[in-house]
């Protein structure tokens, strides 16, 4: 009983940095931590160091809207994200840490005939990959989301939806903490407040990193998992990426009584809505079109997202907005990730995550760990190699990724 008063650490105190590690991971977010976790779990690689410029989970891992799903439009994407959702399903038990994963279902609304065609195509692609995903009509939408307005004379009337039962929401901070504890127990060292300022190369091979304080750390392999800052980190290795950095914003209302137990997405209205376990309505929208590294939100977002939310949920008219925030997204030209080796030996990237990186964290960790440990690119991520942009072999997820959380 006294045990509950004892201050328990989730992971070890930060150790002294060594001069060399087998693997140095830049970025202490969900992807970096997952890579360290699976390196130890699947491959016994434990001489691993995670360098994070702020606190862990301070970037996109702590700013996303916590939605998981796998109903993508390309077979490559759907397969990949499906593997991720399946890993997430077992992750609470595996990490022995409750990640509060609610597979409450996910509805992508269609407001036009054209949108119904796209939903039908996605449902077919999904079903061929064995993913539970189907097109439903307004009656079933009303049954699944009875609080939502289905007025036929609305600006954007709901004609139907793509229904994806395994989709849902998960506690994003818990994912970060659970993976950090798992990585730590596996032997990896987590070093917050260590900013990387350079990547050392010798003969076209990455050999280590230099920190902002000038300190040098040697590495057998360097992995960048830095989302919005990927271009900057890759630039240190002499690489240019097909990425632009934009802000994506979200906001929550004050906590309300349970009203909505399914994720609602409308691409046409540029909004996605869920209700958290605390009762807050969590509302996200689209990225700003201009590039920026400044994580400051815009009033325009709050106005537009509020307006569209009220069209779907007029009963929220008097709900107050509790807070809003912005995070950085690394947008790739085809809305698919850039994952794996680069032309700099010993330097791999997990980048190009745009607005959908969080839902891929475990599968990125597992496949990147396999790549680093074995030197072979797993089949699942071969379509996502950086090289595809040199040869114009894009994997276009435009129809299922932009604004479609």
């Amino acid at each position: 009983m006294l045990d509950i008063f004892r201050k328990r650490r989730m992971w070890r105190k930060t150790q002294e940095l060594k001069d060399h590690y087998d693997v140095v991971i830049i970025g202490g977010g969900s992807h970096g931590l997952a890579t360290a976790y699976y390196l130890a779990r699947d491959h016994g690689v434990t001489d691993v160091c995670i360098l994070e410029k702020s606190y862990i989970g301070s970037g996109a891992a702590g700013r996303n809207t916590t939605i998981l799903r796998s109903n993508y439009k390309t077979p490559e994407g759907a397969r990949f994200y499906d593997a991720s959702v399946k890993l997430y399903e077992g992750l609470s038990a595996e990490l022995n840490f409750n990640l509060l994963f609610s597979q409450e279902g996910h509805l992508t609304l269609a407001h036009t005939d054209r949108a119904m065609f796209v939903m039908t195509e996605r449902a077919e692609v999904n079903r061929l990959q064995g993913i539970d995903s189907k097109v439903i009509g307004p009656d079933e939408v009303a049954r699944l989301a009875p609080a939502m307005s289905l007025e036929p004379d609305a600006v954007h009337p709901v004609m139907g939806a793509l229904y994806h039962p395994p989709g849902g929401i998960i506690r994003h901070d818990a994912v970060v903490w659970g993976l950090a504890r798992g990585a730590d127990r596996g032997g990896a060292e987590i070093h917050p407040y260590r900013e990387v300022a350079g990547i050392e190369r010798d003969n076209g091979r990455a050999t280590g990193v230099t920190l902002a304080d000038g300190r040098r750390i040697g590495a057998g392999h360097v992995v960048s998992a830095t989302a919005g800052w990927s271009s900057t980190i890759a630039g240190m290795a002499g690489l240019e990426l097909p990425i632009t950095t934009h802000i994506l914003q979200a906001m929550v209302t004050e906590p309300l009584k349970p009203l909505l137990d399914i994720v609602i997405v409308s691409s046409q209205m540029h909004v996605y809505i869920s209700q958290t376990d605390r009762g807050e309505f969590l509302i996200g929208a689209e990225i700003e079109p201009w590039t920026t590294y400044r994580q400051q939100g815009t009033l325009n977002f709050i106005q537009e997202a509020s307006r569209h939310t009220l069209e779907l949920f007029p009963q929220l008219e008097r709900a107050r907005i509790l807070r809003s925030w912005a995070g950085l997204c690394d947008i790739s030209p085809d809305y698919s990730p850039i994952l794996g080796e680069t032309e700099v030996d010993g330097f791999s990237v997990s980048a190009g995550w745009g607005t959908y990186g969080f839902k891929a964290a475990p599968i990125v960790g597992r496949t990147m760990a396999e790549l680093v440990a074995t030197g072979k690119t797993p089949e699942l991520i071969q379509p996502f190699a950086l090289e595809r942009f040199y040869r114009d072999r894009l994997v276009s997820e435009l129809g299922a990724a932009a604004v479609s959380h």
């Binding site: 240019e240 632009t244 325009n300 942009f389």
Partner: protein
């Protein structure tokens, strides 16, 4: 509103008045290799710092113009019409757009700029 941008023709406006055309990228040579062409189409410097970029005054005079903006603060350092570029390059050789050739005419990033569903 998040920041202001000054149109060389119309003056100061909210950024929502404008369409973003992406960073200025050097044109490939006249017969580019596949890789050179794809680099031009897809790859970007995406600097955290001062960047020269294309803007269009969509809700105003509809002119395309150039701006130099610090992407870490969104502070706009300079705006000018394409014809002003040479004189700007003469006076501000130290600004961070060295990759840009004198003949750069690209209208921003194909597929990388304005993103909607």
């Amino acid at each position: 509103m998040s920041y202001l941008l000054t149109c060389p023709n119309c003056g100061k406006r909210e950024v929502t008045d404008f369409a973003y055309g992406g960073e200025v990228v050097p044109r490939p040579k006249s017969k580019p290799s596949e890789r050179e062409l794809n680099t031009y189409n897809y790859f970007r410097r995406n600097v955290a710092g001062v960047q020269r970029e294309w803007w269009n005054h969509r809700s105003g005079c509809r002119a395309w113009f150039l701006a130099e903006r610090d992407t870490t603060t969104n502070e706009v350092k300079w705006v000018g019409l394409p014809a002003d570029r040479d004189s700007r390059d003469g006076e501000a050789g130290a600004t961070a757009h060295g990759a840009q050739g004198p003949g750069a005419q690209g209208i921003g990033g194909a597929g990388s700029g304005g993103v909607t569903a």
